[in-house]
């Protein structure tokens, strides 16, 4: 049923009239023109559609639009602040932590959520936190390096 749903999207309030049962991923991609979150599996098994919901990394293909009401959503498009990349984005560039790039937005958001919750994760904690995000190109070793480096940079107050 079509409803007016309000939430905070990448720092700004939005209000849209949408069927609350629709998949959040498609609403973001089609109604809000944010195509950074990707469709990969439709079952929450690959992490390509990862977004931040109140700071937590979640698969947007498993959520309804109605679920977003009143929440804070961050997509990959919202990570840049005043034209400056997030530390994790910079680290991904520095380490070439991507190939085809399709999993990259989800990877970065997963890493951002991890570092927000745990600014100094151990290697095992990084592996475990990232494990639900799949990459077929095999950029894994570089993604780990990038997350570790971002963690150190954020710890030192650099960004």
């Amino acid at each position: 049923m079509t409803q007016t749903i309000q939430f905070t999207l990448n720092g700004s309030p939005v209000s849209i009239d949408v069927d609350e049962e629709r998949t959040l991923l498609w609403v973001l991609r089609d109604d809000l023109s944010l195509t950074g979150a990707k469709f990969g599996c439709g079952e929450g098994l690959c992490g390509a559609c990862t977004i931040l919901l109140d700071g937590e990394a979640v698969p947007s293909c498993q959520l309804t639009a109605g679920y977003a009401a009143g929440k804070k959503i961050t997509t990959i498009e919202g990570l840049e602040q005043d034209g400056r990349l997030h530390t994790v984005q910079k680290a991904f560039i520095k380490y070439d932590a991507l190939q085809c790039g399709f999993c990259t937005p989800g990877m970065i958001l997963r890493a951002v959520a991890l570092l927000s919750a745990n600014p100094e994760p151990s290697s095992d904690q990084i592996l475990s936190a990232m494990d639900g995000n799949l990459c077929r190109c095999g950029a894994h070793v570089r993604i780990i390096q990038a997350v570790q480096t971002a963690s150190e940079a954020m710890k030192g107050g650099r960004s």
């Binding site: 469709f39 560039i93 190939q99 085809c100 790039g101």
Partner: protein, 724 residues
């Protein structure tokens, strides 16, 4: 796909579709017959110039006019057009390096346009580690000729003999009077230069390279970390609708009834029939999915009796006559000179491509023209397929491949583009087809299940005296012998391509097709022979190798790994594998630990050394080696397509297990320098060793020979039981 050298913009291209690759058509396409063209003297015969051979499917259709590859703007910015696509292997960076190096312009001043049949020179497809190795040479030649023509133009403009002119950073200058100079942009004013050289200048010596051969980070990284990079499913057109297509439950199933009335009553839903295809359209994907659920259909599903266990016998029973890939001596002489004979059979299961981006296409068909964005490795092939399906001339069909989210051979076939085109014409509005993950598995062109039989002999001196190699349905690539063996024969029964009546579903090229299977079988067998001869498996290989490149990569890998000789099984869990792929020599060593109780394999470390000739981008090449090693863990350890009667049992990532962060070993790569032979393949070679290096490591750890990939815990436990 279009990428500015120094900006994040990724605008969609414009321009009419390319009719053919003739010179006249090319000029016409650029709108340059009649006006806007600089004609200096007569139109020369561009075909007369000696160039790199454009042989077979690789290059026969690639244009020779340098204008097809390069355009120099009035601002001296260079646009480089290539028919290849970017799916992660990084040619967007290495092509820009090669063009900049050969033209003497800065890397940053080069913008790339890729995979657009309306703007780019023809190409057969992005596969086979051919981009740098072959297409790169065409780009370099085009740039070298363009630079020569620019110098000739400058000589006239500056009233200076050609011999005194040099080029640097997009400027031609008189070495005796450096202030006498002119920029490339001033010479071309953005126009096509209709002038060609009598002879190509000699290639720039690699010792003078300042861009090619240096490590460059990916130039598409900024777009990809910000979400600005556009993949096919990210494209939007006004009035576009999403399609879902009715699919059979199994391969070979025949539809006997379909009822679309439920869907037809739904709001905003359009039900379409196009030939056998039944589809629904809706403005959003949820609506299309809901409509598809309201269609009911019945099918006859034949009982073929073929499943993932019976398939190997089925393959052997349906093998065609063999093609001999390589041979020497005679197998009879080999047999009689052998003291012991070792005979083994190796298997590998069907493996999926499983790119993170499912096949997608957005089609607009109107006024007798079609424009289609498609995730494909073969835009020019898709152009032909769509033209045929729509009954349009090819020049009325334009295919644009934006960034492609992984291909690995699986997007060589792109049926989704034809589906979208047919539906868009029928609907009268743009149509987006995005395959679900289930469709992606169902319609994948899997790496074929395969059987390898090896019958080999050792003579009294511990040398290989016989090598009778038979491979069924994997294919030839990678099976050719490179060891010093007096009597050998490599027989290939069937290739990896679709063969009617053989495979229960489509098969096709999977990253380094055939080679993964062949190298696995050869290396595991080599280690069994080395163990029989009582010799360290590295020493055993070196005893049979006079090829310096292969010795070079094995020795480089051994140094990095810290290999010390021991007879198999040493209990250390050390593995070894080597092969030749895409003219690149590659060797890998690994260390594993095997849990005897669970059968689980922990890969601790993988070292890979590669001689890939001249390396254009060492950073990109290293990325490809790491990616190959990581991806290769999957086919070696966990990836396998289960099926029964044409019905796929693995259709998503819950049961189809691709490598994850938690399965990651330490990875070390070594590039063995060999610039004098030109660039060789880089996107595939390092994956060919992964089955062999891990199977030999498990053998070394436990004495158990796991003869089937993937080495699942069950197969490891079974092999342990057999080994006692």
């Amino acid at each position: 796909m279009t990428q500015k050298g120094n900006s994040a913009k990724n605008p969609a291209g414009t321009g009419p579709p390319q009719a053919s690759i003739t010179r006249r058509a090319f000029l016409k396409r650029m709108g340059l017959l009649g006006g806007g063209i600089i004609v200096y003297g007569a139109l020369g015969d561009v075909a007369a110039l000696a160039r790199a051979p454009r042989e077979g499917y690789i290059g026969a259709g690639v244009p020779i006019d340098f204008n097809a590859f390069l355009r120099i703007g009035a601002d001296s910015r260079v646009t480089c057009f290539v028919g290849k696509i970017e799916m992660g292997q990084g040619p967007i960076t290495s092509f820009a390096q090669m063009a900049a190096e050969a033209l003497d312009v800065s890397y940053e001043s080069v913008d790339m346009v890729m995979g657009d049949t309306g703007r780019c020179p023809w190409d057969a497809g992005t596969w086979g580690s051919l981009s740098t190795r072959f297409y790169g040479i065409f780009v370099k030649e085009a740039a070298a000729e363009a630079k020569g023509v620019l110098k000739a133009l400058a000589a006239e403009r500056l009233l200076c003999p050609m011999s005194r002119l040099s080029t640097k950073n997009g400027i031609v200058f008189d070495r005796d009077r450096p202030m006498s100079r002119v920029s490339y942009g001033e010479l071309t004013r953005g126009n096509i230069i209709e002038r060609h050289l009598e002879t190509l200048p000699p290639p720039k010596p690699t010792s003078e390279y300042t861009i090619s051969g240096k490590p460059y980070l990916r130039r598409d990284a900024m777009d990809k970390v910000t979400g600005r990079a556009k993949f096919t499913a990210d494209m939007r057109l006004p009035g576009m609708r999403y399609a879902r297509i009715l699919r059979p439950p199994a391969h070979g199933a025949r539809r006997i009834r379909v009822d679309t009335s439920g869907a037809e009553q739904m709001k905003d839903v359009q039900v379409l029939r196009e030939g056998d295809m039944v589809a629904v359209l809706h403005p959003d994907p949820d609506g299309a999915a809901a409509a598809l659920e309201r269609i009911s259909a019945d099918y006859d599903v034949p009982d073929t009796g073929i499943n993932d266990e019976t398939i190997f016998q089925h393959l052997l029973e349906h093998a065609p006559a063999p093609a001999v890939a390589s041979e020497a001596g005679s197998l009879d002489s080999g047999e009689s000179s052998s003291q012991s004979i070792i005979e083994e059979t190796y298997l590998n299961s069907y493996v999926a491509h499983a790119p993170m981006e499912p096949h997608a296409a957005l089609a607009a068909v109107e006024d007798g023209k079609a424009k289609i964005w498609a995730s494909t490795q073969t835009p020019f092939g898709v152009q032909q397929q769509v033209a045929q399906a729509l009954g349009l001339p090819a020049e009325k069909v334009r295919i644009i491949a934006p960034f492609v989210g992984g291909g690995f051979g699986g997007k060589s076939a792109s049926a989704q583009a034809v589906e979208a085109a047919l539906l868009a014409r029928r609907a009268g509005s743009p149509v987006m087809v995005v395959w679900t993950r289930e469709e992606e598995f169902f319609f994948d062109t899997f790496r074929p299940a395969a059987v390898v039989k090896i019958r080999s002999g050792l003579n009294g001196a511990g040398r290989i005296s016989l090598w009778d190699y038979q491979v069924y349905f994997a294919g030839k690539r990678g099976c050719e012998n490179f060891y010093d063996i007096p009597h050998h024969r490599e027989a290939v029964y069937g290739e990896w391509r679709i063969a009617p009546g053989i495979h229960p579903f489509a098969v096709g090229p999977w990253r380094a097709p055939a080679a993964n299977t062949n190298v696995f079988a050869r290396d595991l067998h080599m280690n069994i022979m080395a163990a029989k001869a009582g010799i360290d498996p590295l020493a055993f290989r070196l005893h049979h190798l006079s090829d310096d490149r292969m010795r070079g990569v094995l020795e480089a890998a051994a140094r990095q790994f810290g290999w010390t000789p021991a007879k198999t099984p040493s209990g250390r869990g050390y593995g070894i594998s080597c092969g030749i792929d895409a003219e690149t020599y590659v060797a890998a060593m690994a260390e594993v630990a095997v849990d005897r109780k669970s059968g689980g394999i922990e890969v601790k470390r993988v070292v890979c050394a590669q001689d890939m000739g001249e390396v254009v981008n060492p950073q990109g090449a290293t990325l490809q080696m790491e990616g190959c090693i990581t991806m290769g863990l999957g086919y070696a350890l966990s990836e396998e397509v289960h099926f029964r009667n044409g019905r796929l049992l693995d259709v998503n990532f819950d049961t189809y297990a691709i490598p994850r962060f938690s399965s990651l070993p330490a990875i070390e790569t070594v590039i063995v320098p060999n610039p004098s032979i030109g660039p060789k393949g880089g996107g595939e070679p390092a994956i060919v060793c992964m089955g062999g290096v891990l199977a030999t490591a498990v053998y070394d750890a436990t004495g158990a020979v796991v003869r089937q990939l993937p080495m699942t815990p069950e197969r490891v436990k079974e092999a342990l039981k057999q080994a006692g």
